[in-house]
Point group: C2
Chain length 363, copies 2
C-alpha cells in the first residue's frame, strides 16, 4: 500500500445532526476529520480519515508559541438532484501552498489534498445541509507541532481538514452591513504576511473589530499600513466599489489576500461587459465619489457571505450612506449568480464547479 493511500477509519458513533435553523456558522462539526503528518526526512505521510477527535499536543508545540500555521476555507453544496459540488477548490489548495511558502511550511501535494477533501466529504456527506443558503464549510489547516521553544521553522506538522455544516449567512435575505473605516490599527503591510492566510493576521484584527463593534459597526475597512490612505480589505473580505459605472477593487499589492470570490467576481463582471479595474484606490477617492453622487455601490467578497453589500461607511466622523443603505443591483446579480453556480441552479460558463463523485468510498 502506497504512502499516499488515504486510510479510512470510520467512527463507531454518529452525532445527531442539527436542524437547518440551528446551524449558525462554524460551531458544529461532523463525525470525521482528515489528518496527515509531516516529519523532517520522511515528508508528508500517513493520510487518513479518522473520527472527529481532540488534538493531543505537547504544550511546547510551536503552534502555541510562534504561530507557524496556515489555513483555508471553502464550501461544499448539495444540488437539488443530489450532486455534491465544490467551487474552484484547486485555487484554495494553490493558495494554501503560497501561504506555506510565506510561513516556511513544507508544501502539500495539492492533488492529494483535494482527494482527501473529497473523501472526507463523502464519508460525512449526510452532514451537508439542504435548506436554501446552507452548505458544508470546509476548513483545511496546517499547524507546527515540534515541541521546541526557539524561533525557527518546525520540523514536524499536521495537516488537518474539519467540516462544519453552516446556515445561510443572511437569515432574512442579503442585507447591507455598516463598516467603520479603521484609522488606528493596521492589518498588514507589504513585506508582512497580509497575502498569506495565517492566524496572526486574524489575531491582529481582533482589537479593531472590538472597537468597531462598540460603535455598532459590524466590520472594519482596513487602510494601508504605510500611509493609511489606500483601501485594502473589509473585515476578512476583499472589497469592491462601483463608482460612476465602473467597478473598482484594490489591486493585489502583497498585503491583500487574493480571494477566490474576488477573482470570480472580476471574471463575471468582465464576462457581463461591466467595466472593472484592479488598482490602487484611496479612501479620499471613495469619499469624493460619494460627495459627487457617484458612489453607486460597495460590497465585500468572501467565502462565508459570498457577497456582502455595504450600506454605510463611517470615516472621519462622517457617515457615508450608500445606495440609501440598500443592496445594489450589481451586488444582487453577483450574489445570485455565484451562489447559483455554487449550488448548481445556474449555468457554470467557466467550469468553476467540481463535482465530488459518489462512487466507492474506500473502506
Amino acid at each position: 500500500m502506497s504512502e499516499k493511500t488515504i486510510q479510512v477509519n470510520l467512527s463507531p458513533e454518529r452525532k445527531p445532526k442539527p436542524e437547518s435553523n440551528q446551524l449558525g456558522f462554524g460551531k458544529i462539526f461532523t463525525d470525521h476529520m482528515f489528518v496527515m503528518d509531516y516529519t523532517e526526512g520522511k515528508g508528508w505521510h500517513d493520510p487518513r480519515v479518522v473520527p472527529y477527535q481532540p488534538l493531543t499536543l505537547d504544550p511546547a508545540s510551536m503552534i502555541f508559541h510562534y504561530g507557524q500555521t496556515v489555513f483555508e476555507g471553502l464550501k461544499a453544496y448539495l444540488t437539488n438532484d443530489n450532486r455534491i459540488l465544490l467551487f474552484r477548490p484547486e485555487r484554495n489548495m494553490q493558495r494554501l501552498n503560497r501561504s506555506n511558502d510565506r510561513l516556511c511550511i513544507p508544501n502539500i501535494d495539492e492533488e492529494l489534498a483535494l482527494e482527501a477533501l473529497k473523501k472526507l466529504i463523502l464519508v460525512d456527506k449526510e452532514w451537508i445541509p439542504t435548506a436554501e443558503g446552507t452548505s458544508l464549510y470546509i476548513r483545511p489547516f496546517i499547524i507546527a507541532t515540534e515541541p521546541f521553544l526557539g524561533v525557527h521553522a518546525s520540523n514536524s506538522y499536521q495537516f488537518i481538514i474539519i467540516l462544519s455544516p453552516v446556515g445561510s449567512y443572511y437569515k432574512e435575505g442579503i442585507q447591507p452591513v455598516k463598516i467603520l473605516v479603521e484609522s488606528d490599527y493596521v492589518r498588514a503591510v507589504a513585506g508582512g504576511t497580509g497575502e498569506a492566510k495565517t492566524a496572526g493576521n486574524y489575531a491582529s484584527s481582533l482589537k479593531a473589530q472590538e472597537v468597531a463593534s462598540q460603535k455598532e459597526y459590524s466590520q472594519v475597512l482596513w487602510l494601508d499600513g504605510l500611509e493609511k490612505k489606500y483601501i485594502e480589505e473589509v473585515g476578512s473580505m476583499n472589497v469592491f466599489f462601483k463608482i460612476d459605472g465602473e467597478v473598482v477593487t484594490p489591486a493585489l499589492n502583497g498585503s491583500i489576500l487574493e480571494g477566490v470570490t474576488r477573482n470570480s467576481v472580476i471574471h463575471l463582471l468582465k464576462h457581463w461587459g461591466v467595466p472593472v479595474s484592479e488598482r490602487k484606490i484611496s479612501m479620499q477617492e471613495v469619499y469624493d465619489a460619494y460627495k459627487a453622487g457617484k458612489l453607486e455601490e460597495a460590497f465585500g467578497t468572501g467565502t462565508a457571505a459570498v457577497i456582502s453589500p455595504v450600506g454605510e461607511f463611517f470615516w472621519k466622523d462622517e457617515k457615508l450612506v450608500i445606495n440609501e443603505g440598500k443592496t445594489g443591483e450589481i451586488s444582487k446579480r453577483l450574489y445570485q449568480t455565484i451562489t447559483g453556480i455554487q449550488n448548481g441552479t445556474e449555468q457554470d460558463p467557466f467550469d468553476w464547479v467540481v463535482e465530488v463523485h459518489q462512487e466507492a468510498v474506500a473502506k
Copy 2:
C-alpha cells in the same frame, strides 16, 4: 477553599534529568506544568500544578485558526548558596497583560500568576541546572480554546506555564554574531502587534530568518515597516549601538517589543554614568558612524542570550565589521553585571531579583 487556591497534583513519575552539557535551549521540559482556565462569566479559575502532559484541544479551537495567543519568557537561577532567584518577574506579568489587551484576551491576576510561577518552580526545583550560565527557562502562555470558526475574541482560554532547563547560550564564552539588515520583509508596523508578545510576530519573521541563514547570517536586523530606514530590533532582541561614546537604542514606538533586558541595560548605563539615549535611529546613521570610525559597539538584548554582541552587519552589499568582530567593553560589562545580578554573584543595587522562598509547597 478559594477559587484562587493553587492546587498541586504531583506526578507519580519523574523523568531523568539531563547532564548540563546536554541541555541546549527549549528542548527539555520538567515534570510539572501550571494550568488555569478561563470561561466567559466565570473568569479565570481552577489554578493548578499538574504533571507535564499534552494539551487536548478540539481541532476547531481558535488558537489553531486565528492565533489569539500571548506569551512571556523569563528565567530562574540557582545561586551558589542554593537560593532560587527570578529577575524582575513582575515586569513579565505586566507585559503579559499589555499583550492581553492588544489581543483581546482577559487580563490575568499578576500576583496570582507570579505565585503560580513560584509554586511550579518549587515543585520542580531539582530541575534548575547548576553549571555556569545555565538556568531554568520559564514560558507562561495563554491560548484561545473556544471551538469556533469565526473571527472574534474567544470565550475560553488556558493560561499555562512550562519550564525548561537551558544550557549556557554561549558554549565558549560570549561570542559576537553576524547580522543581516533586512530590506524585503517586515516584522511589524505601528498599529500592528509589534509591541505585543504574540505568536504571529514570530511566524512572520521566519522567512527573513531563513533567507539570512542561507547567507550564513545568524539573525536579521529589522527596519521600520513604513520607510525601511529606521532600526527596530535584531532577531527577537532589542538592539543598542555605541556611537562616539554614547549608547543609542531605538525609542519604543508601538512596533518594538519593550524588553526587560533592554530596560535593565538602560538603567545600568545611567547608573554607571554612560551616556544613553532612546531615540529614532536610522541604518544610514549607523552606516555613517561606521564609515567615520565612530561605531564602537553594537549588541542585542534579550532573555535568552542576555547580551549578544554584534560583530558584523551586512547592509546593501557591504559588510560593516564592528570592533574587529570582537566583543566590546560595554557589552562585556553589561553581560557580566546582569548575569551576575541574576545568579546572585553581583550586587543588586535596584532590587531586581526576587527570591523564591523555599518554604512549604502546598500539598
